[in-house]
């Protein structure tokens, strides 16, 4: 019935508490200063030496890669130059390729022999056919011997 009214907390109050909490981090300053070991510089020197060695190692790897790449490039360039020279020089030296001679084409009679009689008739009736209709007639109606 009667509840205790709690006083609402304002944003300003929360900000002040938050600020006080963050400022409390300063209390650890002395402990932080003492976190470093007495021989801290010796450890740092070792660490720097390791880092130096690592960087030099990675540098030498890079140098090797760059050297290999430059060698590869020069080899590739040489091969390309040779290929280009071959393309330019060879056509001049090679014999001209002869045009396909008429003799390569089998005579009409041989071509006709390979065809069926119906195909022969069809070809022969074309106007551009070199076989005359009378020759066709002779071939088709050739008396059996």
């Amino acid at each position: 019935m009667f509840t205790k009214k709690t006083k609402p907390v304002t944003d300003e109050q929360l900000d002040q508490v938050g600020k006080a909490l963050v400022q409390a981090l300063r209390q650890a300053d002395t402990a932080s200063e003492e976190a470093l070991a007495p021989n801290a510089f010796g450890q740092l020197r070792n660490r720097i030496a390791q880092e130096k060695a690592r960087r030099e190692g990675s540098l030498s790897i890079w140098e090797a890669i760059v050297g290999l790449a430059s060698q590869s490039l020069s080899t590739f360039g040489l091969v390309t130059a040779c290929a280009v020279l071959l393309v330019w020089i060879l056509p001049a030296q090679t014999m001209p390729v002869p045009a396909p001679s008429q003799s390569a084409v089998p005579p009409v009679e041989e071509q006709l022999v390979r065809l069926s009689p119906m195909q022969e008739c069809t070809i022969s009736t074309r106007p551009d056919c070199s076989v005359s209709p009378s020759e066709v007639l002779t071939i088709v109606v050739k008396p059996a011997r």
Binding site: V9, Q13, L21, A28, S32, E33, A40, F41, L44
Partner: protein
């Protein structure tokens, strides 16, 4: 952005004491290891390291190790992790000296602080991604303790008198986004201005403002959960 002016203000806040040949430059703020008359300035030591005198780097290390440890300790609780991070930062500094020496007009302290803060930010992101590196979640007992701590803070007339558990604060802050953690720590623990944080982190001022606003909102919401 006037970087030189910003860093002058940062130095005046005793956060980043610079080491120069002139002692009068260091009189108005306590340097952790002030450069006495006759001691070389940071820039001269950098030059010596660049010329091959490795002992000069030890002097630089001894000069700045405490300040950098304090800075790292804001983000990391474990002493072995603090040591590892500080060594990592000094290794980066060593290998970056060539780059630094080529740039003129930059304060050495400002330069190493930037390296340190970036390393801390990287660590926060790394810890967020890997639960085994995180501070850990709150146990039921710690949740009760945290609620009590927050209520005591709200009721206390002055927040300075409060005894606040470091572990609980770290666990609470670890629940925030790494950028929020960084901005809140630099704003509230180191008391840097928005311009100074922008200069240190390399972010724009508007990004710092937006991040600060979001970080405060997130922290507020998180604290409300315990009420």
């Amino acid at each position: 952005m006037e970087t030189a002016g910003v860093w002058e203000r940062v130095r005046k806040k005793h956060l980043m004491p610079d080491h120069t040949l002139e002692c009068s430059d260091n009189l108005d703020f306590p340097a952790e290891m002030p450069a006495a008359a006759g001691e070389l300035a940071d820039e001269a030591l950098v030059q010596a390291v660049m010329e091959g005198r490795e002992a000069a780097f030890e002097t630089l290390f001894e000069r700045h190790r405490r300040r950098l440890s304090r800075l790292v300790g804001r983000f990391c609780a474990r002493p072995e992790k603090i040591e590892e991070l500080v060594q990592d930062i000094f290794t980066k500094i060593y290998f970056g000296l060539g780059e630094y020496s080529q740039r003129s007009g930059n304060s050495f302290t400002a330069w190493i602080s930037r390296i340190a803060i970036n390393s801390c930010y990287d660590y926060l992101r790394y810890a967020k991604r890997r639960p085994e590196q995180a501070v850990g979640t709150l146990t039921a007992e710690e949740t009760g303790e945290t609620a009590g701590m927050i209520q005591a803070a709200l009721a206390a007339p002055s927040l300075e008198s409060l005894v606040i558990s470091q572990d609980l604060v770290r666990k609470l802050l670890a629940r925030l986004h790494p950028e929020d953690q960084l901005v809140l720590t630099l704003l509230d623990a180191d008391e840097l201005s928005v311009a100074e944080i922008a200069s240190v982190t390399g972010w724009s001022e508007s990004k710092v403002k937006v991040r600060a606003f979001r970080a405060r909102k997130a922290l507020r919401e998180m604290l409300s959960e315990f009420l």
